[in-house]
């Protein structure tokens, strides 16, 4: 099959779902991610209610205000991502570049704040459960579940930022047009999903 043939097939909406292949592929991937994060969140809830003595009250160890601000930062990055998509839909390449850059900066800042939070928590002795666990705050389950959930999410954000940088470079080269901007929509779906997961994680881990 020629490259031209693959390209044509890729951009044609499929009769079943009515969406193009890349988009359908991203949706199917995101659905598997729903199961992944559900298993983490479900395990956390069950462990927390089985061992309430190992989990601290909201705000006693974790910095809720800092994370609320960070949550808002991620929400802002979702807005800039959707504005980037809206811009290229209207053929505004400069707008696409501007909003993508804003998304990258806010996404990277989110990861930076999370790393800062980890360092601060580590200094306070709140660590993941290890064989030689010696933390004096919280229980081993609290640290293990907290770092597992937020760590996996942080890894997703980091990968998202790297993917956005790739899309941004392509945007700078003028590879997205009003007629062909599937890459922007597909990375946008991933980015909004990461935001959506954090909205749930923030509530479950930091507020309840």
């Amino acid at each position: 099959m020629s490259d031209a043939g693959i390209g044509t097939m890729d951009r044609t909406p499929m009769p079943g779902m009515g969406v193009f292949n890349k988009k359908l592929g991203m949706w199917v991937f995101l659905l598997s991610e729903v199961m992944f994060f559900t298993s983490l969140i479900g395990s956390y809830i069950i462990l927390r209610y089985a061992h309430p003595d190992q989990f601290a009250a909201p705000g006693s160890i974790l910095n809720v205000n800092l994370t609320a601000a960070n949550t808002f930062l991620l929400i802002c990055s979702s807005v800039s991502m959707v504005k980037a998509f809206a811009a290229i839909q209207e053929g505004d390449v400069k707008g696409l570049q501007k909003w993508l850059l804003a998304t990258i900066i806010m996404g990277a800042s989110f990861v930076g704040v999370q790393v800062y939070e980890y360092i601060e928590l580590g200094h306070e002795g709140f660590l993941p459960a290890l064989a030689d666990y010696t933390a004096h705050v919280g229980g081993p389950l609290y640290g293990a579940t907290f770092y597992a959930m937020t760590g996996f999410h942080g890894a997703h954000v980091t990968l998202g930022v790297l993917a956005l940088i790739f899309v941004y470079i392509r945007a700078l080269r003028g590879e997205y047009t009003v007629a062909d901007h599937e890459g922007v929509e597909v990375i946008g779906l991933y980015w909004h999903f990461v935001d959506l997961v954090w909205i749930i994680l923030f509530t479950i881990v930091y507020l309840i």
Binding site: W27, G42, T71
Partner: protein, 106 residues
């Protein structure tokens, strides 16, 4: 894309009587809900009431992101069905793992 494009052709919504960009309008609602969550979390209410209220606000926020930012609202019904397909599976998974609760507390 074609569906998202058709839905995204009107980028405006009515927010408290003002005609605003729909993405900015949703952003304002998400900001207010996030502030509301942080405020509500520290109210002197029963634990169950706090949890239900916070989960309700989180689900509301997640739904807004899915519907408007991921453009699910404008997608064909088939994609909707696909999008919600993991929810019953996730429910079954959590329900199955909850049986561990008895073992853990025992």
């Amino acid at each position: 894309m074609q569906n998202a494009e058709s839905g995204a052709s009107d980028h405006h919504m009515n927010l408290l009587g003002w005609k605003v960009d729909i993405y900015i309008g949703i952003w304002v609602i998400l900001l207010l809900l996030t502030l509301g969550e942080v405020f509500y979390a520290f109210l002197p209410l029963p634990k169950m009431m706090l949890a239900l209220g916070l989960v309700a606000m989180a689900v509301w926020k997640a739904a807004l992101v899915g519907l408007y930012y991921m453009h699910l609202r404008y997608e064909p019904k088939n994609l909707w069905i696909l999008a919600i397909s993991p929810l019953p599976l996730a429910f079954i998974m959590v329900l199955a793992v909850i049986t561990e609760y008895g073992w853990l507390v025992g």
